[in-house]
């Protein structure tokens, strides 16, 4: 890993985003800003039933609405819909209002099934309506066992049992899913809000039965993906079909309402955990049983698929004797998709809650219990570093011992992310012009984390230039193929690639110009010697410049009003490692975002389904609650720079431990556990035993 320079001017320092001016002035064109010539609005008609067989769809009246240019059905013949919001048809027209009017005139003949189920615990019952005909909603759990669990519990000095639950979390990036698609005789161009231009290109080509070479995907700027924007999606395929039918580009961006139904989500978890330790705090026995729902994407024949309900148990701690049982439950609701660190935030919440409950039973400081049982040497450094900065020793009090009505508490939790390494397929090129200007072109996309800036920082460092002298082009499948931005892999994919391009460029410049070192002060002279032809250098990902496995530890301080149940997060200290840090300021920004997302998961976010109607009751930001600025505490980010490990991604671990740390801080404040996310005033008051029973009316 030592090929990275040790004395640096830009790498591991802070460079403001090179595209900040474009973003701040509105010049950056997000996918939802694209206005291709002659474009039409597109909109999707969705199932109003949680379960039905669609017999026929009549689009005639919709097509007669003035301004409507095309209408298509998602598939021919009869088909089933299995959740409220499942796609049935789509229209394209000259205005949003024309589309809205047309949607209301689509006539659907359907056999409506009045038997459906939207809640996990109902779906698990014998005799529950079946989401998939002829298949049970849940199958026997798969069991993984190490050691001798039952005997081991007998050897423990302390054993706790808990039932920890997390809700379905909806994907709500600032920019909804969607795209503009133009399908002409020459092929398809899609301006997609995606975190994977290559996977969208391949997916569209497959769905539309076109050669890959006939499909181009462009993503100049996009407003967040979080794991749910790798594929073309129904919105991509429908926009393409509409474009073909209407002979015009179709912009189909989902509404916020759509977004709540059908673009994937983080599965729920219901974790029954039994855990025991020896008298010195060494974890000795673990039994975990978890089920959760990935919506229709679980149980039986999963047509929806994607994003499993399994979580890593017992997460990052070493327990010699363990038994883990997991199963997924199908319900009539939108299916899961990868969601920032799939499986990990619920796993962290459950296990870290159990850790603190066990620490209480052992009479141990919960931080010490972690230090005793966490096998990871990097996190051991992070516990010490974070505890020092946070003031853990001074702040830690026995649970519930904080005086007064408004009690303070602290908690910590950890993250392990096994991925974060680079994608070997990553390629890129640089064009070096005789005037000294240089352009990097990579078929990667910026999910919002500062990908362009990372490229500019590395190129500037290695070429001896300034980051603003580097022009960066990304987000186009016409550029050399790059990775999807998922699994925290982007930085570790592109950094070695840019390194390779720069190394080759310098060699080539030396060969072509005879100058021994083209860097820095010599750059313009060297480029001038190229004559009239630019130098184009191709590079690819190289081994030895990146690795994987990032961790992190977060500490939270909260105030809990024991009369109103309101939780206020006062402070979060986030200690994270990701190998060699490329750019501190964008890294900190990503960690801030991870923490804020974690606060939402801890305190606010929850998809609420209605039993009787089967609808999502909170398909908007009024009742699907996300943290606002008033909910965000002072966040202190502490970076552990480890150049010897090469580049590793950070996106996912940053959001993993926040909810667990907050939940533990709440338990520390009030002396009782709120075992269920989100931790609302209602649940805090219930945990404190203050809520009267309902009155039967």
């Amino acid at each position: 890993m030592s090929n990275w320079p040790t004395e640096t001017k830009y790498i591991s320092h802070s460079t403001a985003r090179i595209d900040a001016p474009a973003k701040l002035t509105g010049n950056a064109r997000y996918s939802s800003d694209i206005q291709a010539e002659g474009w039409l609005y597109g909109m999707i008609y969705r199932s109003k039933w949680p379960s039905a067989k669609i017999k026929s769809v009549n689009l005639d009246k919709a097509l007669q609405v003035p301004g409507i240019k095309a209408a298509v059905v998602v598939r021919d013949g009869e088909f089933n819909v299995r959740y409220y919001g499942d796609e049935i048809a789509a229209v394209a027209g000259v205005s949003k209002q024309a589309c809205l009017d047309a949607l209301r005139l689509i006539e659907v003949q359907a056999d409506v099934k009045h038997e459906f189920v939207v809640k996990e615990n109902d779906a698990r019952k014998d005799g529950s309506p079946q989401v998939w005909d002829g298949a049970a909603n849940t199958v026997a759990p798969h069991v993984r066992e190490n050691g001798t669990v039952d005997a081991a519990f007998g050897e423990c000095a302390a054993v706790i049992e808990g039932f920890y639950t997390t809700p379905v979390q909806i994907h709500h990036p600032m920019e909804t899913h969607g795209n503009t698609v133009s399908w002409t005789d020459d092929g398809v161009t899609a301006w997609s809000s995606t975190q994977g231009i290559s996977s969208v290109r391949d997916g569209l080509a497959g769905s539309l039965q076109l050669d890959h070479s006939k499909v181009r995907v462009i993503t100049e700027y996009m407003g967040g993906g979080f794991g749910a924007k790798f594929g073309a999606g129904a919105e991509g395929v429908l926009a393409a079909k509409l474009s073909k039918a209407a002979k015009a580009p179709v912009r189909l961006m989902l509404t916020r309402f759509d977004q709540a139904l059908a673009v994937g989500n983080r599965p729920s978890s219901f974790q029954k955990i039994k855990m025991g330790a020896l008298a010195d705090g060494t974890l000795h026995a673990f039994e975990g049983e978890n089920y959760g729902t990935a919506g229709i994407g679980a149980g039986g024949d999963s047509g929806g698929g994607g994003g499993g309900a399994d979580i890593p148990m017992p997460y990052l701690y070493k327990v010699p004797n363990s038994r883990v049982k997991q199963s997924a439950v199908a319900v009539n609701a939108g299916s899961a998709r990868a969601f920032r660190a799939p499986g990990n935030p619920p796993a962290s919440f459950g296990m870290e809650s159990a850790m603190d409950d066990l620490a209480v039973k052992l009479g141990m400081d919960p931080l010490e219990l972690r230090q005793k049982n966490d096998p990871n040497p990097v996190r051991q450094r992070e516990y010490a570093l974070g505890a020092e900065k946070f003031g853990w020793k001074e702040k830690y009090k026995k649970p519930g011992s904080s005086p007064g009505v408004v009690k303070t508490g602290i908690g910590c939790a950890s993250a392990a992310w096994p991925a974060g390494g680079g994608s070997r397929r990553t390629q890129g090129e640089a064009q070096i012009n005789p005037d000294g200007s240089v352009e990097f072109r990579l078929g990667v996309q910026d999910i919002g984390t500062g990908t362009r800036t990372v490229i500019a920082v590395i190129a500037a460092e290695l070429l001896g230039l300034k980051p603003d002298q580097i022009t960066v082009k990304v987000g186009d499948t016409h550029y050399p193929p790059g990775p999807g931005s998922g699994g925290s892999t982007t930085c570790a994919s592109i950094s070695p690639t840019v390194f390779d391009i720069c190394t080759k460029a310098l060699q080539q410049l030396q060969t072509q110009t005879g100058l021994a070192d083209a860097r820095g002060d010599n750059w313009f002279a060297a480029c001038k010697k190229l004559g009239v032809d630019p130098l184009v250098v191709h590079g690819q990902w190289q081994q030895g410049l990146s690795s994987d496995h990032a961790g992190g530890v977060q500490f939270a301080e909260v105030e809990v009003d024991t009369e109103t149940g309101l939780v206020t997060v006062k402070k979060v200290v986030a200690v994270h490692d990701c190998g060699l840090i490329i750019n501190c300021v964008t890294l900190e920004s990503q960690i801030n975002g991870g923490v804020i997302g974690g606060i939402g998961y801890a305190l606010y976010e929850e998809r609420v389904m209605d039993d009787l109607s089967g609808v999502v009751l909170n398909p908007n930001f009024e009742t699907y609650k996300m943290p606002g600025i008033a909910d965000v505490p002072d966040i202190e980010v502490i970076l552990v720079n480890m150049p010897e490990r090469g580049v590793i991604g950070i996106g996912e671990p940053a959001t993993v431990p926040t909810a667990g740390a907050i939940a533990n801080a709440v338990a520390n404040a009030i002396g009782v556990r709120v075992p269920s996310l989100p931790i609302t005033p209602a649940k805090v008051l219930a945990a404190l035993g203050k809520v009267p029973p309902p009155v039967n009316s």
Partner: protein, 322 residues
């Protein structure tokens, strides 16, 4: 939304005339536009009333202040005199939605706003409030719903201004059938208590002109708790107002929002408090009286201790301001 026509009214008479044919008054539009977009109400004509003369004023008075229905919530929030004379009203205004919304939201619109029940607001559920057969919330997801109601619908009133106006014993002046009618907050909402289809007592065409607030209670306060710290509806809100004379409460009034289709007021509690010197025990007794007949459902019982805490805090804050 459905297509509509648009007209500006320059007098209350023309406003009423224009609105008569399936029209709707448009002021800040925060509530109306949301309802139209979700096809929850339909209007053939939107009658812009923002230009009606004189209705956006806040007028001080010795015994009574008058706040025009077109005054914005932000005007109340930022008026330094209101902060002194009716501190509870300023506090309530500051909790409404976000600054951007407060800048355009009007007093009349805040009072007249429709139910926020998520079944009512959902485009594809036909609940009792939308002429359907049943209240989905009653046996469904009722965490945000009422502890008190006089009818099968359990959608609560959420106007924080109404809660505070109730505690201040304010009167809404409503133009009804060409005449000015005076409705206190109980009167302005009583129909919602009885009738699931109503969210207030206004008839079609009724126009709120202004609100009159007596200065008789120099102490007032408003507090709410929401899931979030800003830009969120109150789970429970509580306003209290009184004159304090020699440590004793005079003409105290307590009102709560988000727990009943009307601002929840219990006259027996107001009477109990009258003349009392406030301490924890008195505040607790008052809270007990106010919540005595609460009928919590499966998911909203937490509102009982929450309301209890807010009542006690609001009352003690009245005293504390001495």
């Amino acid at each position: 939304m459905k297509a509509f026509e648009y007209a500006s009214a320059h007098s209350t008479d023309s406003a009423r005339e224009l609105v008569a044919n399936n029209g709707a008054y448009l002021a800040g539009g925060n509530d109306l536009l949301g309802l139209l977009k979700e096809y929850l109400v339909s209007a053939d004509l939107l009658v812009n009333i923002k230009s009606l003369p004189g209705l956006d004023k806040i007028e001080p008075g010795h015994k009574t202040w008058t706040i025009g229905a077109l005054a914005t919530v932000a005007q109340i929030e930022h008026d330094p005199e209101i902060k002194k004379v009716f501190p509870g009203l300023q506090e309530a205004a500051a909790e409404v939605a976000s600054q951007q919304i407060r800048n355009v939201a009007t007093v009349g619109g805040n009072l007249a706003q429709h139910s926020r029940c998520w079944y009512f607001r959902h485009r594809d559920t036909v609940c009792l409030k939308k002429n359907g057969d049943l209240c989905y919330a009653r046996n469904g997801e009722n965490r945000y719903h009422s502890l008190f109601t006089g009818n099968p619908c359990i959608s609560p009133v959420v106007s924080s201004l109404a809660t505070t106006f109730a505690a201040l014993d304010a009167t809404a002046i409503v133009l009804r059938d060409g005449k000015e009618s005076r409705l206190n907050m109980a009167g302005l909402y009583h129909r919602a208590w009885e009738n699931p289809l109503a969210h207030n007592s206004l008839n079609p065409g009724d126009l709120i002109l202004r609100v009159e607030i007596p200065t008789a209670r120099s102490r007032s306060t408003y507090m709410q708790v929401s899931d979030k710290h800003a830009f969120d509806w109150a789970l429970v809100s509580c306003a209290a107002a009184a004159e304090v004379d020699g440590g004793r409460l005079k003409s105290p009034r307590v009102a709560l929002g988000s727990i009943s289709p009307v601002p929840h007021q219990v006259e027996a509690a107001n009477q109990f408090l009258d003349g009392k010197i406030l301490d924890d025990a008195t505040a607790t007794q008052a809270a007990d009286l106010i919540l005595k007949d609460a009928k919590p459902l499966e998911h909203n019982a937490y509102k009982v201790p929450l309301a209890h805490a807010l009542i006690r805090r609001a009352l003690l804050k009245l005293k504390g301001a001495a």
